[in-house]
């Protein structure tokens, strides 16, 4: 009977908190959006599922061994942890919620060495790191996951359209206004007393405007890991909603005439140009922004493997087995950051609001930049391809094409929009490097 009691008091039904229920609902909603609505399913299926797993009561899948030990709060365990975490507690004291809170706080503030010691002690008492906690540490904590995804994206990217018309890179630069504009937006919310943000948090939120999943995860893992869940969900959700977000903005900022502009066919690009281009980007990184080296280095490496033609088996693996494996665990790891106590916070609402602003601002900036370039250049470009500069490859380029076809059924903008589209990836990575350089 005592054992039955153990099972019952350890069950989810007995322990579940309202926040966890809400988060499980949010996880199911993400799965619904991914599966039925096709919202970036490759990431949102693992993220949504991971989010549910992270909120299973008592399972502690997203917690470290020490956090699990603190949660269960046995006096002798806490007494052992007290030494490692420099908390005043001995085993004869009652374990009140305040004591638990003190330990949790001390663990959050602990140094690397203290964390290691506390986790070791907790393991000696039979507690283990949660599965999702381990995934997060290995894949995101080490920053290796987003970088491998970026390598795979590089191996899938064709820079041909960009090389045929390099000046469209400026559209990819302009769209990064979405990033910095959002930082400003977060600062405004803070100024207005509506939400609190530090500059690190504001910058991490801003990266949503980069419209690039791995970059968002990388930057937020460096600048504000506690917001990673909300930022990644926001980034992927809005990327999926690009076909809804962008067209009204694009139409509002352009005339029917402009939307009908027909662009001349792109010149063919030689294999040599494609091979050397990633090296040119790399050299630019070497000379001007070493802090973008991990992201852009891996991206260029992936692209070089793709184009050089002599390592097809590596390129194939980078585009398939490797990126798929990492995607599974990256998604689950992001899900681990959807724990109720971290996610259900006014900041999350702010992040979701700012995210859509970010996409809108980036879209507008891209379109306006294209119009500005038309003022200064003879060879006109269709301003609709400016919106593709936000990245969200290849969705944003497809949106440009679709809106273009509405204005002129003979006008295929897809290839022209691919240039700013991939330039937007580079631009976001550069912006990420600048923010990491200046803030961390």
């Amino acid at each position: 009977m005592e054992k039955l009691l153990t099972l019952w008091t350890g069950s989810g039904l007995f322990n579940i908190e309202p926040g966890q229920l809400v988060m499980i609902g949010i996880g199911l909603l993400l799965l619904y959006l991914a599966i039925r609505k096709g919202f970036e399913p490759l990431l949102l299926v693992p993220i949504g599922f991971g989010g549910i797993l992270a909120n299973i009561p008592e399972a502690g899948l997203a917690l470290s061994a020490a956090e699990n030990a603190i949660h269960f709060g046995k006096p002798e365990v806490l007494a052992a942890l007290a030494g490692a975490l420099d908390v005043a507690y001995d085993a004869s004291q009652a374990v009140t919620p305040e004591v638990i809170e003190t330990f949790k706080h001390a663990f959050k503030e602990a140094s690397t060495a203290e964390v290691a010691m506390a986790n070791g002690l907790a393991q000696d008492f039979g507690y283990g790191n949660g599965m999702l906690y381990n995934f997060y540490q290995v894949i995101i904590g080490s920053t290796v996951g987003p970088l491998i995804i970026f390598m795979g994206v590089g191996a899938m990217t064709d820079f041909g359209p960009l090389l045929a018309n390099p000046k469209t890179m400026l559209l990819g630069a302009a769209a990064q206004f979405g990033i910095f504009g959002t930082v400003l937006g977060a600062a405004l919310l803070d100024w207005g007393g509506i939400l609190d943000f530090t500059i690190l948090e504001a910058a991490a939120v801003g990266i949503i405007g980069g419209a690039d999943g791995p970059t968002s995860i990388y930057v937020s893992s460096v600048l504000a890991p506690h917001l990673l869940g909300a930022i990644a969900v926001s980034a992927y959700a809005y990327m999926a909603m690009v076909p809804m977000i962008q067209p009204p903005i694009m139409k509002a900022l352009t005339t029917e005439e402009e939307r009908k502009i027909k662009m001349s066919q792109l010149r063919p690009v030689s294999r040599k140009e494609k091979i050397i281009f990633p090296l040119v980007v790399l050299i630019a990184v070497v000379l001007f922004l070493p802090d973008a080296a991990p992201l852009l280095g891996m991206f260029c490496f992936g692209n070089l493997m793709r184009e050089c033609g002599v390592v097809e088996r590596l390129s194939d693996t980078a585009q398939n087995a490797l990126i798929n494996i990492v995607t599974i665990f990256l998604g689950l790891s992001v899900g681990s950051k959807l724990m109720a106590e971290k996610f259900l916070d006014p900041q999350t609402l702010g992040i979701l609001m700012l995210g859509i602003v970010a996409f809108g601002v980036g879209t507008a900036a891209g379109v306006l930049m294209a119009k500005l370039m038309n003022l200064m250049s003879k060879e006109k470009i269709n301003p609709l391809i400016g919106s593709a500069g936000v990245s969200a490859v290849p969705m944003a380029a497809r949106v440009s094409n679709k809106v273009g076809l509405e204005a002129n059924p003979q006008n295929f903008l897809l290839m022209h929009a691919m240039g700013p589209n991939v330039a937007g990836v580079i631009g976001s990575a550069v912006a990420a490097g600048v923010m990491i350089k200046l803030l961390s």
Binding site: S270, I276, V280, M435
Partner: protein
């Protein structure tokens, strides 16, 4: 304007400036690279979009053959990957 605001404004100015500068340099470097290659090492050009990574479905395989092949591949995979 509090400190966060001024930091954000600073970040925007420096950040956007740097992003533009970096991509402008890249525009010129890329153009230079292309011209150098075209002058010193020209090659028979390929179309702007190489379909290597995601080959499109060709129209010329009739559905029956395609079906037969698909089955054969399935057969092959079933036997070889088990």
């Amino acid at each position: 304007m509090n400190e966060l605001m001024s930091q954000a404004v600073d970040l925007m100015i420096v950040g956007m400036g740097f992003v533009f500068a970096f991509l402008l340099i890249l525009v010129f470097a890329t153009g230079l690279m292309s011209r150098l290659i075209l002058r010193f090492a020209p090659e028979p050009a390929t179309p702007a979009k190489t379909p290597r990574a995601k080959p499109k479905a060709p129209a010329s395989v009739d559905p029956d053959t395609a079906e037969a092949i698909k089955k054969a591949i399935a057969q092959y995979r079933a036997r070889h990957r088990k």
